[in-house]
Structure formats: C-alpha cells, structure tokens
Subunit: 264 residues, 2 copies
DNA sequence: AACTAAGTTTCACATAATGAAACCTTGTTG
DNA sequence: CAACAAGGTTTCATTATGTGAAACTTAGTT
C-alpha cells in the first residue's frame, strides 16, 4: 500500500516536490526524502522529461510541471462535480451576491473544486485545486458529518487541529460533537474558525443513497452579516444541493450524440 | 526518449485515458493502446490506487483523478505566469471591459493559463487548463511568431490545419507568411479563424532576451467591434505585457518565510 | 446449457530499477 | 591558487520489478 512499485515511488517524489510550494533544489528534496541520492535523482529526471516537473536550469530548481495543468483540466471536467454544478452555482451566486464555494473531500482534506466571487466570475485554478483543512471549514465539517463512521474516524485521525483563530475546534471530541449537531441540523457553519472575520454556511450535497458527493458554502464577513443572516440562505442552498445531486445521478457523458463543436 | 522506463509508460497510459475526454472502459483503452492486456491492466490499477485515475465501479470506467487537480494547483502557482500576471490582467480586463486570456505554449499547443470574463460574458470554449490549436488562435500565432526558427518548424510540423471557419489558415505557407507579418507588427489578430464571430488581438510577452514567456489577448465579437477597434488596445496591451515580463524576471519565491497551511 | 466478450490472475522470464561508490564541477577558504 | 567542500552526476554489479502469454473467472448473451 505504501508503494505501487516504481510508479508509486515516482509519484511520491512528485508530491514531495509539490509540497514545498515553491521551486526546490535537488538537495532540499533529498533532505526530506527517504530515497538514496541516485534514485531520487533519476526520478526527478524522469518526471522532468515527462513534463510532470519543470526544471529551471538557472536556479537549478524543480517545480510541478505544466503537463499537470493539462491533465487536471480533464480531471476537473470528468471527475468532479464542477461541470454539473456550474449552472446551479452561477444561479446561487447571483441570488445571494456572496462568495460561493464548491468542495469535495479528498482523503482527509477539503479540495476546492470551484468558486464564484460575486464580482469576478470563473477563475479556475486560482482557487480550484486548493486544499484546506477539514476540521475548521464549513464544507469540511459538513462533508465529514455525513460520511460513514469508518471514514470519519480515519479522517479525524489525520487532522492536525492547528488553532487558526480563537474559535477553531482543536480536538477530536469537540469536532465529533459538532459533527453530531450538523447531522441533526442538516447543515453547518464556519464561525470564524479558520480566518477571523470570515463566516460561512455550508450544505452537504448528498446522493439518494445518502452518500456525500460534495458540499456547497456561502461565505461572508462578520462586518456584513452574521450567522442568523447566513441561515436565511438555507432554503436556496438546500434546493441547489438537491439539484446538483439530482443532476449528478442522472448524468452520463454525451455517449455518442456528441456536439463537441468547440474544437480543440 | 519514447519511454522513461516504467514511469513513462504509466504516464502514457494516463494521457491516453485523459485524451478520451470522457470516462472509458478498460477495453476501450486497450483498443487504443500498444500495451498488452495485463500490462495495461496493472497500470490502470496502479494509477487508480494513486488517485491519478478515478474508477467508477458501477460503470466500470476510468477517468482522470482528483489528485491531478491538487497537483495542478501547485503547478499553476509555481510554473506558470498566472500568479505574476494576475494583477496586471485584472487591471487590463477592467480597463478594456472585454474577455482577456493569458496563454503559454506547451509543445505544439496553446495552453490557456488564466482568463477574465467581460462584464457581458460571451460563452466561449476557453478555460484555464484547456488547450487549443496554435495555428488559428491569436495567442498561438503570436507566441509562435516570436519563437526561434527551430521551434517554429517543430510546431508547424505538428499542426493539423483543420479548417474551423472560412478564414482559418489551412497550410504551413500561409501560416509562415502570417508569422512574418506578426513579427514585423509586434502583435497579431484572430480574424474569426477559430470561431465565427469571435475576433481577438494578441500580444506576446517577451523577456529582455527576447524569449517568449507567453501571450495575452483581448477577445470580442464582430457584433461589438472590429479589428480596428481592437487595435486601439495595442498601447495598454503592450504596457501590460511589458509589466508582466518585468515582474517575471524579477520574481523569486518568498525564500524563507514559510507559512504553510494558511490555505483558504 | 452453451457460448462469448470483458475483465482478472498466474508465473517463468527478461528487463529495468537500485544504490554504494566513484566521479565531476563549481564555489569557497586558508 | 592549491586544497577543500558541497552539490550534483555517472557507473555498474546486484536484485527486485515489471512483463505478457496463457489460463481462468465472471457477467452477459442467445
């Protein structure tokens, strides 16, 4: 499980480079890696050849490569809720005039899939692709709350419970209590748990079978509204989530009746 | 070069799956693949284990996986012009009130890196991560025009010259003439060459050394303006391109102040 | 029940990955 | 400017891994 052969190891290296969040030198990766020098060196070479990494010869640094951007576009269109949810999110965003997020759970983290700013629409990877902690975001807690117990345990196990603000939930117990409350309620809040002044209301997107497909949230600031204000969005949020879930289940790719006029 | 060992082969499979543009069954991939059945099978398993592919057990289909979205975010922030160009593009978009694109050349294709929609948005094919043809887009031709001769030859060699509209350039000769004209001019147009009714003006982003870093474009419709109208944007486009190039060359990552996990 | 196509597993064999050691190359120091 | 590091690259015998023909197991016909 730790390793899917050579390919798994290479991808581990790729992740390690990406994890730095900035271009890195060979020796820096080496210091954090379990691989011996020549092995790591060969992986970096291979990944660079393959455009999975980009190498800057001047600075002698590696960073995640452009091929990933191409591949991710395909992933985003085929393996996420984003394309299905798009019209619904547009409508929601227009209706509430606040920032809207669409997220999915990826292992123990929240992965933001799409976003609408009230003002400037559609900025894809600028937000989408970003990951955040599950335990202190509205979407994270809501998705967790409706996951099956085994999953909840696994995810909670991996949380670091870093205190971002005074209201951050900082241990498993309080988080579990919060999850129970969310389950009872049907939706959840972020009470400035991640960033001071930032609050949100989050709604799970559930399949008919009750499986968590993702989550929606409407974010605002304490200067503009409060939790009670956000709560007034519950009906539209719940309708939107239901609509997305319905579409997701009826959706199958344009099998043969392809229009695809928009070329490549 | 064809193959970087096992890792290269696995990534080839990943590309093949992504190329379908929709979830695919094992046998479909097999039909297009040179790999023998069990080999391909194992690659798909490995990639799925690694979340580079997602497997839908109901439909028995593979599609590009969610891990790619995470990785691409890192790539987008570190290996593209997008983060540097962002404020400049915001300003440009606000100033001209039309759709603005930022693109880079990826092999023989145009890769859209970022985009700003106009206030009155035109529905179009482009998005960050999406690829387009180099020979019939403003950004593509402009980037090509300022590339070195060897590169131009290589890229032209790989173009398919599909006729999208009546004005599409459909052979290497006319394209080369157009590139010469663009080089003389300093910028280029898309004269409804890709989509009817869609025109644009494109400006290369060049380093001091004259290397092509990317390209910018302002897109509109024949209903709203014409080429002469777009040409009035030349000064602001050229200033913006210069500003981006300058920032790109002075850019170095926040070296030591690591404040990880501030994710949104 | 008999057939078929798609998907999965096995296993002897060949290839490709491995990493200790040696080797460059560039920048630093006495 | 010789001697030294430190970071980066190459070599090569050893071993682990990947390979794919064939056999097998479903699931879906007719």
């Amino acid at each position: 499980m730790t390793s899917d052969g050579t390919v798994g190891k290479a991808l581990e290296v790729l992740d390690q480079v990406a994890a730095f969040g900035r271009p890195v030198r060979f020796s820096e990766v080496l210091a954090r890696s379990d691989f011996p020098k020549p092995t790591l060196y060969r992986f970096l070479q291979t990944l660079t050849n393959q455009d999975m990494l980009a190498y800057d010869p001047d600075r002698q640094t590696y960073s995640p490569g452009i091929r990933l951007v191409r591949l991710a576009h395909a992933a985003w269109e085929q393996s996420t809720l984003a394309p299905i949810a798009r019209p619904h999110i547009d409508a929601l965003s227009a209706a509430v005039g606040e920032t809207v997020h669409l997220a999915q759970l990826d292992h123990a983290q929240v992965l933001y899939i799409d976003k609408r700013n009230a003002n400037n629409p559609v900025q894809m990877f600028s937000q989408a692709g970003k990951v955040g902690p599950a335990y202190c975001t509205g979407v994270g807690k809501v998705m967790l709350a409706f996951s099956d117990p085994a999953r909840i345990d696994a995810v909670i196990d991996q949380q670091s419970f870093h205190r971002f603000t005074p209201t951050t939930l900082t241990d498993a117990r309080t988080l579990r209590d919060e999850l129970t409350a969310i389950r009872a309620n049907g939706y959840g809040f972020d009470r400035e748990e991640h960033e001071p002044g930032i609050i949100c209301i989050a709604m799970p997107i559930l399949s008919d079978a009750g499986r968590v497909l993702g989550a929606l949230s409407v974010t605002s600031t304490t200067g503009r509204t409060n939790l009670a204000g956000l709560e007034s969005y519950v009906p539209i949020l719940s309708d939107t989530a239901a609509a997305i879930a319905r579409d997701a289940q009826n959706w199958s790719f344009p099998d043969h009746d392809t229009k695809e006029a928009t070329g490549r």
